[in-house]
């Protein structure tokens, strides 16, 4: 392992992650000692509209993948409409490779609770929900504990800190469906229905949870809010780039020496991140990587100096997504990996629309056949065409995400496919895997 150089180390900007290594920061007492629940005192003193303006000024963009300006989203909530407003926090982190929200909720759950209070106050919501992935039992337990502690201390409930503002915060565990990370499917699931994406419009800002104006924000987005309130918009903008402000938690996994979360200003490069992670594992050379989870187009070694912000990654032909960077080396097979991802997407497809439901069924089988050594060159054209028929034709982004690694690997690594087809590469799957259930 190589130590990162000093100038690269300086690029670390621990803001959201700053308490993660403090022992017991998940407990309210420790959290309070570490600047906790200071921001809400400040926030509850100002007019909610000023808070929305502050977030607009900070340039905070959603951390859930799409990067939508958060202040703008809050501003869409119609005020004085006589309807209840809701804040829903999307903690259904499920994108393959993404691992930023669960550690945050495990090690610093109160920052999310505090952010939720401020955001709810800003959008005039008296009820907020955290929809957390069902499998993340540990994080959910910490979060529930934090909510209980916050109630006990008067940060939640009636008349918070004497401000007259009431807020109830509910932690709701999902039942383990990737689709429920899609905001409208999440809302359906939260309402007790089958988690399937809704037709838009109406958008959640107008008719979201229980057909009322609703803000759906990612965990990272909401957890950023207390820091912006305390530090101010200018401080926030001092990190990151002009259009992608603030720090970002980059989740590195795969062939690096120290996989984990690295919080840096937006715009850092993969080369620097790999250095922060102690370099590539010995004997491994970078071959391909995901900039923001498996649903984002793959990048290759040639993109190692791409600035990792919304604009930079887009310019390279991909999407920043959730900054879940899975690093693969020359010892990894892109065909095999794509198959593994496809099995995931196939398993997680909600079944609502034809392209995603049937297309993944088909592609998974084609991959199994190729990996068992029975592929044909024609299969590659069919795969490409099927992926094209899914991408942009599905009801929601899940189908797009499934088609993406297929298109990427066919684009960059066609020869790896031909290896299986022409018999140069040993089959990775046995004949047995071709038989059987869907």
């Amino acid at each position: 392992m190589t130590q990162p150089r000093q100038e690269v180390l300086q690029k670390l900007t621990p803001v959201l992650t700053k308490r993660w290594l403090s022992p017991d920061a998940w407990q309210i007492g420790v959290y309070e000692q570490l600047d906790g629940y200071r921001a809400i005192r400040k926030a509850l003193d100002v007019h909610p509209d000023d808070l929305i303006q502050l977030i607009k000024d900070s340039g905070l963009r959603g951390r859930g993948g799409a990067g939508f300006p958060t202040g703008l989203k809050w501003g869409f909530i119609p005020q004085g409409d006589g309807k209840p407003h809701y804040l829903v926090i999307n903690a259904d982190e499920g994108e393959p490779g993404t691992c930023k929200d669960l550690p945050l909720m495990t090690y610093d759950p109160h920052s999310l609770v505090e952010g939720a209070i401020i955001a709810s106050y800003a959008i005039r919501a008296n009820r907020a929900f955290i929809y957390i992935r069902g499998e993340a039992v540990h994080a959910a337990r910490r979060l529930r504990n934090a909510v209980q502690e916050a109630y006990a201390k008067g940060y939640l409930g009636k008349n918070i800190l004497g401000s007259g503002f009431d807020l109830d915060l509910v932690v709701h565990s999902g039942a383990g469906a990737y689709i429920c990370g899609e905001e409208t499917a999440l809302l359906d699931s939260l309402e007790g229905f089958r988690g399937q994406p809704r037709l838009r419009p109406p958008f959640p800002a107008i008719a979201g949870l229980y057909a009322s104006p609703t803000v759906v924000n990612n965990v990272g987005t909401i957890a950023s809010v207390p820091y912006i309130v305390l530090g101010g918009a200018d401080w926030w903008k001092s990190m990151g780039t002009e259009k992608s402000s603030g720090p970002m938690i980059y989740s590195l996994s795969g062939r690096v020496v120290n996989p984990g979360q690295y919080e840096c200003g937006l715009g850092i490069t993969l080369r620097e991140l790999i250095e922060l992670a102690g370099g590539m594992q010995p004997g491994h050379n970078l071959k391909f990587w995901t900039p923001g989870g498996s649903s984002t187009p793959l990048l290759t070694a040639e993109h190692i100096d791409t600035p990792m912000d919304f604009e930079g990654v887009a310019a390279a032909g991909s999407i920043l997504g959730t900054t879940a960077m899975q690093i693969f080396s020359d010892q990894d097979c892109p065909v095999y990996n794509t198959w593994r991802w496809l099995e995931f997407y196939h398993h997680e497809s909600c079944g609502k629309c034809t392209p995603c439901r049937e297309g993944n069924y088909w592609m998974v089988r084609t991959y199994r056949r190729i990996l068992a050594g029975h592929g044909t060159v024609k299969d590659l054209d069919t795969l490409q065409d099927t992926a094209d028929n899914i991408f942009g034709r599905s009801f929601c982004g899940l189908g797009d995400g499934a088609a993406t690694p297929v298109v990427s690997t066919l684009k960059w690594f066609r020869d790896d496919y031909l290896g299986y087809i022409e018999g140069r590469t040993a089959p990775r799957l046995s004949e047995k895997s071709l038989v059987g259930a869907h």
Binding site: R194, K352, D385
Partner: protein, 832 residues
């Protein structure tokens, strides 16, 4: 984009290079359709909310990165849309989706019922590839599964468009089917697990396991009709025919007074299926399962095809020629005329046939003793001299067509009394539900309890002990308040006749509040029979028999002497039965009446036995034909032309579906009349329609509405209760005879009791309870329901619960209750 004239609520857009004006909010797929551009689709249905699930209708919209589903995209000013006709992107997207839809489809078109009329098949031809590139194994399921006794599901054929689940949830309110599982294993099914599970049907057929809840919706057949593939099929039609061998005829439903438009498909003289017709003003595109599947009575084994007369020597019925039978009928009626002949017509007649009876009674028999009402006309024990309902029908129903389905849907508020819409007028129920869901229609129901049907239309209950309805209509503030808004409607059912003063109070309430009043009977022929004159107090055209000018005008039109048509009101059903039973009447002429439907079946059968001469015009063997002196077979609806009048007063004309030698009632009556030297002129429906159209109009003001004092409910003593009862849609009705598959979807008969009775009798849900009168008793499992104190509800005519025959009473009567069963034999029967 300014060449085209448009209103402020319209936009103009370009589809395939053609500028078009559309309403704001209109969907692109509909606008294209209006222009003649057929965009392929599966999940889209104009009466269901957009889903965007199948993705078959993708089009290119300028400025949009991805193809857009035209079934969810609303139009916008200046929008430029390119369909598959002008956009290679849209064409490719549609072809791609079609290929994906077909990879897991079994392509078993040669053995699939839908083959030949299948949107998937048709659109695969227009949009699909000639060959599949898919080499892998297809998804397989056990096939088919019964999701009800009537509906089968072949899951591997399903394209998961969700039309069926959306219909069931949005339109019918019966969410018995839903998507289950996910991804490529996603399927439609009934609720299967322990949590949602119910009793199941016990045949192990529904779904995959025990504890399944069957798809027992009264509207389940519509899902089969709107299924764009062959995934849902009906037990009656499955594997029976190919669509291209069928002959389709527009028809009208003969069951209830909802007036559904239908399509009847036959092949080689046999009806194979019926479908809901497309009539936006009435049934939209839906019908109920009774209307869809209840047509087998016409081919039942006991159908009468040859006239019969009673042999004077043996006393048995024997087959006879038409001329012999008609002569026997004519002579018998002529001989009885002096003592009097009563005419009972039932509620199943077309307007034309009802008119024939009305005219026959007046001109041939010289009597006003004619009544179509084959049901209780008054409360049990009320004197037969009361004429409240007949007076009400004359004043508030005859000739009046004020309320329509459209008004129901758009009304701000509707009050229901004596009517359980889902059971007694299912299409009215669907329209009430549409108003409730889409337009926030406020429904108030005066009823014994809040049934599931009433819940589905969001009704607020004004709880009424049977017998108290009149008092509530006369004095309840909430009911009057609900009718205060302009456009509010008061809709009453025929059952109100059994509450003294209720119809008077309803008419008075409507007049007082300005609400419009609608009367909804149960049978298809009821409303038409009123206007045709099948009532003792009304002549055809709704004129009172006491109106000298009307009688004179009618006599002129009928070319009969003045004085032939009697000027005093005749006997009604109850009085005709009573007069026949006590030997007063010389003969009865009965058309399509089941004595079991009358207030007292035993008395009615006694009357049929006693009357010296009985002529029966019937389709099938019945309690009447068995007692008749002359039986004359008549045509079922499918073998004749005619017209029903629905509860709105809307005419529902239909032609004959099948060629047949069977005659209409009008034709038979005309032949009898001819033998008695009267020219009835009712043999041809067109002649009747012309005659009806040419009848002189009434110049008199409407008859005065009745003003009978409102009664109060009976006071039951210890171990007694007041009886509430109404018909279930699918029950023992004679037009549903022998159809086990359809009967399997009926609501299980239960006796509903309140908590008070359950406690005092020590009963839990499902325990047997016996409801009795001095006549007999009914034992059913108890269902503890939120009823007023001391009220018990029974289905009127369901298996194990024939209220009129077993108890001899009707709603509002006092009955005794006992826990358990009266004796071992009944106990065994009840347990079965």
């Amino acid at each position: 984009m300014t060449d085209v004239q448009k209103r402020a609520d319209q936009v103009s857009l370009i589809i395939d290079g053609v500028e078009v004006v559309a309403e704001k909010g209109e969907l692109v797929i509909r606008v294209a359709e209006r222009m003649g551009i057929a965009i392929p689709r599966f999940c889209d249905h104009p009466l269901l909310a957009p889903a965007g699930a199948c993705r078959q209708c993708l089009v290119e919209v300028e400025g949009q990165r991805k193809p857009v589903a035209s079934c969810t995209q609303t139009v916008a000013e200046g929008m430029v849309v390119k369909t598959q006709l002008s956009s290679p992107v849209a064409a490719k997207a549609q072809a791609g989706v079609m290929e994906l839809l077909l990879i897991n489809h079994p392509l078993d078109c040669p053995t699939c019922d839908k083959g030949g009329e299948c949107p998937l098949q048709n659109q695969a031809m227009s949009t699909g590839r000639a060959d599949s590139r898919f080499k892998e194994e297809k998804r397989e399921y056990e096939k088919p599964i019964h999701i009800s006794s009537q509906v089968l599901l072949d899951r591997e054929r399903c394209v998961l468009c969700q039309r069926c689940t959306r219909f069931s949830e949005e339109i019918a309110g019966d969410k018995f089917i839903d998507l289950m599982d996910r991804s490529s294993g996603e399927q439609i099914n009934v609720y299967r697990d322990d949590f949602f599970g119910g009793a199941g049907t016990g045949d192990g057929q529904v779904g995959e396991g025990e504890g399944d809840v069957a798809f027992n919706s009264y509207f389940s057949g519509n899902t089969i009709q709107i299924c764009p593939v062959g995934a849902l099929t009906g037990e009656q039609y499955r594997f029976r025919a190919r669509p291209f061998d069928l002959v389709s005829t527009p028809s009208a439903c003969e069951h209830c007074a909802s007036g559904c438009s239908q399509r009847t498909d036959h092949r080689r003289g046999k009806v194979l299926r019926r479908l809901a017709g497309d009539d936006p003003a009435v049934n939209e595109e839906w019908n109920c399962d009774k209307g869809r599947w209840g047509f087998r009575y016409a081919t039942a084994t006991d159908r009468i095809l040859t006239p019969q007369i009673r042999d004077t020597k043996t006393g048995e019925l024997r087959e006879a020629s038409w001329s012999e039978a008609l002569l026997a009928a004519a002579e018998g009626l002529k001989a009885a005329k002096e003592r009097g002949v009563g005419v009972l017509t039932g509620g199943r007649l077309t307007v034309e046939d009802a008119y024939a009876y009305a005219k026959f009674a007046r001109t041939v028999l010289g009597t006003n003793d004619v009544d179509f009402r084959a049901r209780p006309l008054r409360a049990t024990g009320s004197p037969v001299t009361t004429t409240e309902e007949a007076d009400f029908l004359a004043a508030a129903v005859a000739g009046i067509t004020e309320v329509t389905y459209e008004q129901v849907e758009n009304a701000p508020s509707v009050v229901l009394a004596g009517l359980e819409p889902e059971e007694e007028s299912p299409i009215l129920f669907l329209r009430l539900r549409k108003g409730h869901i889409r337009r926030k229609l406020r429904v108030t129901a005066v009823s014994a309890y809040l049934s599931r049907g009433l819940e589905k239309i969001g009704a607020a209950l004004v709880a009424a002990v049977p017998g108290d309805e009149a008092h509530i209509l006369a004095s309840d503030a909430a009911v009057a308040e609900a009718l205060g808004a302009p456009g509010a409607l008061l809709i009453v059912g025929e059952r109100l006749a059994t509450v003294p003063g209720a119809l008077s109070a309803a008419a008075d309430l409507a007049a007082r509040t300005g609400a419009k009043l609608a009367w909804v009977p149960r049978r298809a022929g009821d409303r038409g029979a009123i206007d045709a004159g099948c009532l003792p107090n009304l002549l055809p055209g709704g004129r009172p028999v006491t109106d000298d000018a009307a009688r004179a005008a009618l006599s002129l039109a009928w070319k009969v002497d003045a004085g032939v048509v009697p000027g005093t009101p005749g006997r009604d059903t109850d009085r005709i039965i009573a007069a026949a039973a006590d030997g007063t009447l010389g003969a009865l002429l009965v058309g399509g009446v089941d004595p079991a439907d009358l207030a007292d079946p035993t008395l009615a059968e006694n009357a049929l036995d006693t009357v010296p001469f009985l002529v029966s015009l019937e389709m099938r063997q019945s309690a009447v034909t068995r007692r008749a002196d002359v039986v004359l077979p008549i045509a079922p609806a499918v073998e004749k032309a005619g017209t029903y009048m629905d509860w709105e007063g809307r005419l529902r004309s239909f032609g004959a579906v099948l060629k047949s030698t069977a005659m209409t009632d009008g034709r038979v009556l005309e032949a009898i009349a001819a033998l008695l030297d009267v020219s009835l002129n009712t043999g041809d429906v067109n002649a009747v329609r012309r005659e009806l159209g040419g009848l002189p109009g009434s110049t008199l003001p409407s008859p005065v509405r009745p003003s009978v004092a409102a009664a109060r409910a009976a006071q039951p003593a210890e171990n007694q209760a007041v009886l509430a009862t109404w018909h279930q849609l699918i029950d023992l009705g004679s037009l549903l005879d022998g159809d086990q598959v359809l009967a399997g979807t009926a609501r299980p008969p239960v006796a509903r009791i309140g908590k008070d009775l359950a406690e005092s009798l020590g009963l839990a849900d499902g325990d047997l309870v016996t409801v009795g009168t001095d006549r007999g008793s009914i034992t059913l499992p108890a269902a503890i329901t939120d009823l007023p104190p001391r009220v018990v509800w029974l289905p009127t005519n369901s298996p194990g619960s024939t209220v009129r025959r077993s108890l001899g009473v009707t709603a509002g009567a006092v009955v005794t209750l006992t826990a358990g069963v009266p004796g071992p034999i009944l106990a065994e029967e009840a347990a079965r």
